[in-house]
Each structure stands twice: as C-alpha cells, then as structure tokens.
Symmetry: D2
C-alpha cells in the first residue's frame, strides 16, 4: 500500500499516522519528494481499511498495490481450483453446461426439460424455486414446492441441481441442493454470504448488476473466509446506459478473472441480454473468452407459442448451441466430460 | 399498457395473445396501422408482467403507461404521507435532521455525539451496529452490542434511533429501534423487504447503488404491500463512471419522487460523496431540491486527528450545516419542528 | 409512433396536437382507454422529432415503433452491404483483419510493422497520424507527416491504409487514404460526419464511448444521408463503472447490429480493454459473436522492452491471434480472403 | 507520480525504465518493499504520459499524485478567475444568469425572449444557431442566419450573446459572438478546442456526457494552453442508467471543481433533465452547491400550447426562478450584478 501524504502536513500528525500504520503490523518506508511525501507499507496490508486511510486528513491519496483478497487470490493459489459436483468437474480444462427452466412450474415441466437438456449434453439442472422479482405482484416462484420438484427431477434424471437461495432462513431447505446459487441482487447480502460460507456444498456466486470485479472477488472472499472454498463465479451482465439489452455482458471479465483468481468462472448468456436470439452468439463468445461453463435457460412449451421469444431457448435451439460450443472447446483446450 | 405486435404475425398467435391478455382482467383496444398492430390494454395492468409480455414472440415491444406500483403511487394517494417518529414528523412541510456516528463504537462515543447533535438540532440519532462492508476483514460493527449502546443513548437523550438491519434473522433484535434502515445493498433483498413490511414501525429505504427510481419505488411497494405504509426514501448517490466521488448524488430524484410518490424523501450527503467537505454544499442543495430531511454522519474524535478528513463532520461543522439549512428552509416552505 | 396523451387534457389542445401530427404527413389512429388516450401514428414517422413530441404538455409519453434511421436500416435493405477496399471485402461471409501501430512514428517503424502484419494475414494497415489525446501535453501524432509515411508503407506493401480524421479542415489531406476513420470522440461530431458523407471513400465509424447502438446508427445515417453508403461500424468498448479495463467491450452489440443494419461490423479489441493480454481472447470472442473483422494494434519494438506490455501486440503475438481466428471462422461461416 | 514495479522484474529492464524516467526531466526516488519496488518521481510530471508508463511490461501500476493540468489548476492560481463579458462578471462572488431560446427561430422570437429574460434579470442571451442533433433529419438550426438574428437581438437589447460553435470552419463567423460555447458532444473535439484556444474571447465549455471531471479540466487545458485563459465550465448532466431524466445532473462536481480549478463554473439545469418542471428545484440546488451562474432555456410561445411542457420555461416561470435564486444567493455570498 502506498500512502501519499499532503505537503505541509504537521510533523505530529505524520508521526501519529506512522505509528498507527505500524500498529497494523506492517513496516513503513518513507520517500520524500519535492511536492509530496510517500509512505510505502511493507508486509500484509490486506486487512488495512483503505477507505479509513483515505479519509485521514493528512492523506492526499492512497493506493493498494496488492489485492485485498487472499483466499480467492491466484497469487497465493496458482493452480486452478477444480470443483466436482455429482461427478462433473468445473475448472481446469473441464467445461460444463447447466441448463433448465427459468422458474420451476410443475413436475411435468421440470422433468421434461431436464431430460431434454441432459440428452443434449447439460450436466446440471437449473431451475428457480425462490424467484427474485422487481415487483411484489410478479410470480415469486413455487418456493419450497419448487425445491421438491427439482429434487424429483434429480431423482428421475440423476442430474445434480442448481437453484437460488434468497434468505438465511432457508439454509436448511437447501441441504439437498447440489450447487447453491447466490443471485446478482444478493451478491453483497453479506449475512447470507457468511451463512453459505458455512455450508458444506459449492456456491455459485453471480456478479452483482453494478459491481466491480474486485467487489465480486471480495464477496467470494466472504464465503471462503468462513471455510467454504468451493465457489464458482458467474458473469451475467452489468448495468450500463445501453437500452437494447437488459444488461451488458462483460466478457473481458473472463480472462481478467482467470488472472486474478483460481476459481472457476462461468457465464449466463440468457439473463445478460434477456434476448434468446443472442444466447447462441454470446455462448460461443463466452467459450472463446475462456469461460469454464455456461448456464442457459431452456423451456419446453411448444403449445404456448406466446413464449417462444423469451430469454429461454427451446430444447432444439439448446441442442444447436451445445453442438456449436463443442466445435469451439478444443480451441481453448477445454472438454465437456 | 401498449403492446406493439410484429407485422406478419399469424392470426392464430394474435388471437392467443388477445385471449391471454383478457384473462389478466383487462380490456383490449386494437389499433391497426400500416406497419404495425397496436393493442391498448384498458384497466388495471399493474399486475401484468411486462417482461413476460415483452418476451412473447409476436410482440415487437411493450410499454407501460401507468406506473407498476400502487401503494406508493401519488396518483392514488395525492396527499403527502406524514410519518411521525417519537414526535418528529417526516413529510409535508416538516424537515428533520438525522445525525450520528457511522459506526457505534462505545457508550461514551455514541452518547457524546448524540448530545452534541441534539444540541445543534438533530432530532433522530443514527449509528451503525450491523455494518455492511465490502471486505470480510473490515470491522463488521458491534452488532447486538451496538444496538444496546444506541438504546442507552436513546434513554440518555430521548432521541429516537435509526439503524440498519441486514438479516431477516435480526427482526426481533430491532423491536426497540424507532426507524429501521434498509441499506443500499439490500434494496432488492426481497425476503428482507417482505419481513420489514410486517413490522409495526417505519422503514428508511435507501436507494440501491445502481437502481432506478422505479425499482426503488417497487421496493417500497414490497414493504407497503405487506401492510407497512410507513416508508421514508433516502437518496444516497448512484454508481457512475466519475471517480472523484464515491457515488454521484442524484438530486433530480428528489423533485421526481415528489411527483411520483406521497412518501417522504430524505438525502444522505455523507455517503454519497464520501468526502466530508462536500457535506455542507450538498446538504444545502438537497434542501433546495425539496428534500424532507437529511441524514448526516458526525463523529467526535478531536484527539484522533487522523480521522478529521473522513466523510463524517465534527460537531462544530455539523452545527454550521444545520444553521445554513435553517436559512434555506423557508424558501422551500419547510420547517424543522 | 405511439403517443400517450395525459388524461384530463383539454379537447382544444388535443385537436391542436392531432392537427400538428397530420401536418407531419402521417395518419392518426385514436384509441380511447379508461385511463388514457393513445394516438397511433401511421406512415413514415422517421422524421418526426420524438423529443419535441415528448415535451408537449399534453403528452404523457411517446414511443417510437419503427427505428429512426432509414439508410442504415436492414428492414429497407435486407442484404448485407459488402464494401470492397483495395480488393478486400468487408461484410457478408468475408472477414478482414486490419493491423498496424497505434501511432505512426517513423518510416522504418511503419514499413516494418506493415510487412510483418501482412505476412501474418492482415489485409489493411492502420496507423495513427492525427491522434486524439486527452492531454494537450501528450504526443499529438506526426499529423501530415504521418499520413505521408502511411502512404509510403502502402506503396511498399500494397496494403490499403486506415487512419483517423479529426477535423473538417483535413478532408483534402485524406484523399489518398483508403478507409477514413471517425474516432470514438468524434462519433457525434456532426459537421465532420456530414463532410465525410460527401467523400467518395469508405468510412470506419467507431462507437462513441458512451453512445447507444441507436445513436451510433444515427451517426451512420448522417454519413449515409449525404450520399456515402460505405460505412463500416467498429465496436471499441463503452464506458462503465468497472475500473480494471479502460472500457467494457460490448460484444452483444455485434449480433444486435447484425439484426438492425446491413452494414459490416468489426471490433477493436486493443482499445477496448487497453490490455494487450486480453486481445487474443477478446478477438476470438468477437469472431464467435459474429464480427466481420478485427482491428488490432501491433508494434515492433523488440529493443525497447519497456513497451512490451502495452495494448499493442508484438508481431509474433499477432500471428498467433490470426492463426486462432482462422480456427473459429468456419464456425461462423466466414472466410479471410 | 508513483510507479509500482512488478516483483521479479529483471534489473536490466528496471535500469532502462529509470533511465527513461530521468530523460523526462524528473528525479527518481527508489523504495524497496518486500513484495514490490516503488519509484517516486520527483519534479514536474505533468507532461509524462501515464498511459504509456502503465503499459510498460515491468510496471504493475502507476498513480499520478499531482493533477495533469497546469493552467486550469487552482494550486498554481489560487485566486478565482473573474471573466468579464460586456460588463458582466463570472467568478468570485458574482452570479450571472444566461437565458434564451433553445434554437433561434425568427427575429421576432429571439428579440421578444431577449427582452423578457433581460427584464427578469438575465444578463446574457443564449440561443442555438448551429444545433447538434442526434438525427440528420432533425432541425439543424438556422446556422449563419441564426447568428445574424442573435446579433440583431444583441443590438436591440444590449445583451452579450452566447451560442455554440460546431466546426473549425466557422471560427470567422463567430467573431462577434461574446461567449463561444463548446457543446457536450464536442468537449473532446480536440482540433476545435485548439482553434478556440486561439480566439480572443471567452469560451463556455460544457461537460461531455460521459466525461470525468479530470477529462473536462484537460479539455479546458487544451484551450488555455493555446493562450486563451478565459474558460467558463458548464455542468449539464452526465449519462447514467436512470431513464426518468435525460441526464443525471452531477452537482457534487460544483464544490469539487471549486477546489480543483480557479475557473468559473455554471450549471445548465434545462438540458440536464430535459424536464422544465425540474428547472426551478435544480436551479436552486445549483446555487446552493456553489455555482457561479445558470444557463436556462426560455421560450415565448403562448399560442402554441403544445410546447409548454418542454425543457424550456415560459418567461413567467423564468421570472419566478430568478426571484427564488435571489433569495439563496446571499447564503453562498454571491450577488447578481
């Protein structure tokens, strides 16, 4: 950490600052310039509160050199983390496709879709039981009932299940869920992060809709610092000024995350744009950018032609996406297995 | 709601759409143009899922005419809502100043600050007990202990207290808190919104850091639709590309909210910029823009000169802000009382 | 265009509005609802000023159904536009790679790089002569001298050249440039757009750093409406809150543009992130998303090791990117030729 | 400037870097830490290209301590710059109101409005002659003809005139304009900035729609470094995700600019939101935040009731805004004179 001290600071204040810094357990290197005085903090600064330092009245500016996360940091864990769920591996040279309906609606629906996506190559089944909705008047999901239906689909197809948790009160309900999802709106629900950090199962952590990559990794750190090292990151688009897409998929985040962390990174191209016709090109782009997997919405409602255009693909369209993905995978040294 | 149907849509699909719309309990007016066909939905469309409609494959676009919120909507509640907390009124021509430390640190600290801000004119005491922090390694607040200290300060000074709740598990702990704050990161923690919607006490709902005004009002609607009509909105800055301030205070939101809703609206100028030297000008600007109150961070740490420059004001600076606010209040027909 | 009129509007005002609308040459269909009155405008509304309509005091809201651009609109020009530059085709199933130095520095430099990138497969040579720089104290390019050096490189290698124009005063200087670039900061320099719209050569129109896709197409429309139909669009990243990359590459824009317009679309992965190590993954992602070409910065400065890490690739790295791109091209039915 | 060098950098590369830095005319202070090596650059670093340094492959990160602008920097010019235009002063404890129509439409229109706003207290007349419009099909202004009409209004009323220049080709046409405006879309039209920097008249520099405060000051620096020190800054809203207002007025920019620069700063509340009903509250908020003036759109079209709701105020509404502003001015120690 580099602290730039204001010129004309009083010596007494400077001494107090240096004393305080040393109390944080680091060494201080002082560099005197013509216009400023710079303190170089040497040692483990990851637990020093940079906002507090920046707010001190003799500090002109402060800059972190090291990253503020440890468990998630590739510097301290150079090898890719491999997370195995029901025999399917995330990370390394593995590639997994998670698929399923946006919301679980009925036993028939979820089982039909599960079978269809499994046949095409999906290895995990997704489905919303608890649904975060902007409006209290929108369908809130089948909740506990939805979890039961997912478990039936798992029994029927053998596919591990992925579904979103929205409250610390629901931890017990999720004991049979294979991959517990933290949604974008809960990425900084810190009390929930701490609780899932105590669970003995992998967590799928979606990026918040206006969160930086560093904040995202700090949320992973919340989970990991409680003991749960099995975190999979999921890019799902960020909020920008562009109105044509619901969110702007930030694919540069993939290669950046691959440098910064050892955790697996997947992409949700369905929620990112909200437009099913963009799912295929953005899936291929995600694979090319280095993603470790995809999470894709699929529905099976051939009779209700009204919904064809949703962010969900039909099973036939999904099958086509998987086939195309398979062509790109060798280029990035990954394999579905 | 206006639905624009794609040209060349099949008649069978159009009939299905019209049938579905009528099942939602509204009338349909069909307008045929040379390039498009427009359905005007007549009646209560507030519970129709606009995303679902937009995703239908024969729909080119859809536009809501009415707002998707009811309880919070000024159209259905033209009079300002007045919320009284410990004898202090928010809304109408009333103006309140909430002040106190960022975090509750000790009994001495919180009581000293409470007395100081009360003497200057603050009517409610704020203080963080549960602290949302980006890093798991940053101070997380005194938690239950912090609540106790706030209650002691209330006992000592008679000031009602405001503090943030971060988990549905903590509802019982907050039974003696006078104004329960939902922080920016929890603005779309829908399970928490529902629970505080069942509480019998007013809620201070901060704007999410990248949430639109409409999403904010929908979150108020979550609380209100559970029965709790006492919601105070608090603008605290939004995330933009500008790096000099932590957030960009969106003061245009104040007059807009005054049109859209009957709920009181206050501003937190301390968190918005993160710079204490901007608190005074932005407080005055907030009053001028029509805010019903301010929430300001004040600390009392004359010995620890290190922290003078924080987002918190000293009691002396706070006193100066209150005095300046008092000069502007008559201009906007408001009164501290 | 759909105009929603406020309820309680006076009949005289409504009549005036309807009369005004008809004067714009379109028919009006009136739809009366219980809460509002909707006017459907039938005919060519592309030249009606939507902001003006929205500002009328009896108008609650207004929504365009058709797009506000004509020349650039795929609806009126369903076939891909193919633009040929020195025998190299952009658009359709063609794929081109433009490469070269960020700034032209010397004859030796630009010719060496030109030869290197041509050998790897680049078909056009890029190089900055006039450089838009945030600071007046930064190097502003060799200007006219830079253009001469580019022309020498063209003579030497046969490669058509691409370079940025920054002023209407420079139109004559660009008479031998093969593809005239409008930079991001000039995307809404409307006087410049009009002038290049009168040129008899193709224009490379970069997306503005905070411009929507629709605004970008409107800028293409400025050029095309002056008679120059040969516009190539170039996505180069948009400004967001994420600090790790200089800009956020918006790859969803590629498939969206392919729906909305018939113009070729290429991607500049070098400027988007400002990080050379992201150029390869983002190049592959761009191809996968459907881009018609790439524009990549390459330098040749083996002795000056200081600059290795720039947004520019070395010739060796560039060669590797081209080889990887060639593996993906068949997947998207494109070919370099 | 602080340069953090990557650990494990080779000594030869480090030596090259240090040699290069010294060639830029600054001294280097080396600070060696356990995890990094930091170079402190001592002297005038304002002309060192920070992007170039950041791109060097042995550089982990680089941070500027001083600001990259000199002429505009309050550090080197502590006194407020006062700019006098036709006897009206901007800056210091002066406050000016600029008013007039969005576009100049006719002699009668501009003269009537000029007289009305002058009567209410406006001291300068604004009016668009050259209009930057997103669509080539929208009204582009009366151009030269509009300038003539403005000059007639000046002759008639004695008010100095303010109007926007859009091209370096028009410099001569603006020789009788009193305050030359650079619009938001041209804030980084560097060739135009250089040309107006050679003019012998004050420049009104609007903030670009997605430009940071530092970029804005760098554009002022472009003008000032050419010799023209009379630059007035105008905040007019930035682009964010919020759809209810056209732009988000960033009032925190006012007190920040007052710290960073000695130049006068005014606010355009009309363009910021695009909603005339927000002009009054945001004008008062701007004054409270410390602005040196306002620029407000006023129209005079009592017969065409259609336009009442535009971003323009009626003369009566404008008069009310001026009266309210006058109440706030003493609070911020400013005076209209």
């Amino acid at each position: 950490m580099i602290i730039v001290v204001k010129r004309n600071s009083e010596k007494a204040q400077l001494d107090t600052l240096i004393k305080w810094v040393k109390m944080q357990g680091v060494e201080v290197d002082i560099s005197v310039g013509s216009n400023s005085l710079v303190l170089g903090l040497i040692g483990d600064t990851s637990k020093i509160d940079i906002d507090l330092v920046g707010s001190m009245n003799i500090v002109e500016s402060v800059k972190r050199i090291g990253e503020p996360y440890k468990c998630a940091n590739r510097k301290f864990h150079p090898e890719d983390t491999i997370i195995e769920i029901g025999g399917h591996k995330f990370g390394g040279n593995n590639f997994q496709i998670i698929a399923g309906p946006c919301s679980v609606e009925s036993e028939k629906q979820v089982i039909e879709i599960a079978k269809a996506v499994k046949a095409s190559g999906a290895t995990l089944l997704r489905g919303g039981a608890f649904k975060p909705r902007t409006s209290p008047y929108s369908f809130q999901g089948l909740r506990e009932g939805g979890l039961s239906l997912l478990l039936k689909a798992k029994e029927e197809t053998g596919m591990p299940i992925v579904t979103e948790i929205m409250s610390v009160n629901h931890i017990d309900l999720f004991k049979d869920v294979d991959l517990v999802q933290i949604g974008a709106r809960d990425m900084q629900n810190f009390e929930l992060l701490k609780e899932v950090g105590k669970m003995d199962k992998p967590i799928l952590l979606k990026r918040g809709l206006a969160n930086t990559i560093e904040e995202w990794l700090m949320s992973a750190e919340y989970i990991m610092s409680e003991g749960n090292k099995n975190v999979i990151l999921c890019e799902r688009g960020i909020r920008t000024f562009e109105p044509l897409t619901r969110n702007t998929l930030d694919l540069s985040a993939i290669p950046l995350l691959k440098e910064l962390t050892h955790l697996p990174v997947i992409v949700d191209p369905s929620h990112a744009s909200g437009l099913s016709r963009l799912v295929k090109p953005m899936s291929l782009a995600s694979v090319s950018a280095g993603a470790d997997g995809l999470m894709i919405e699929v529905h099976n409602d051939p009779k209700n032609a009204l919904c064809d255009g949703a962010q969900s693909l039909t099973p036939v369209q999904f099958d086509d996406v998987v086939k195309s993905v398979d062509v790109v995978l060798p280029l990035v040294n990954k394999e579905r297995k």
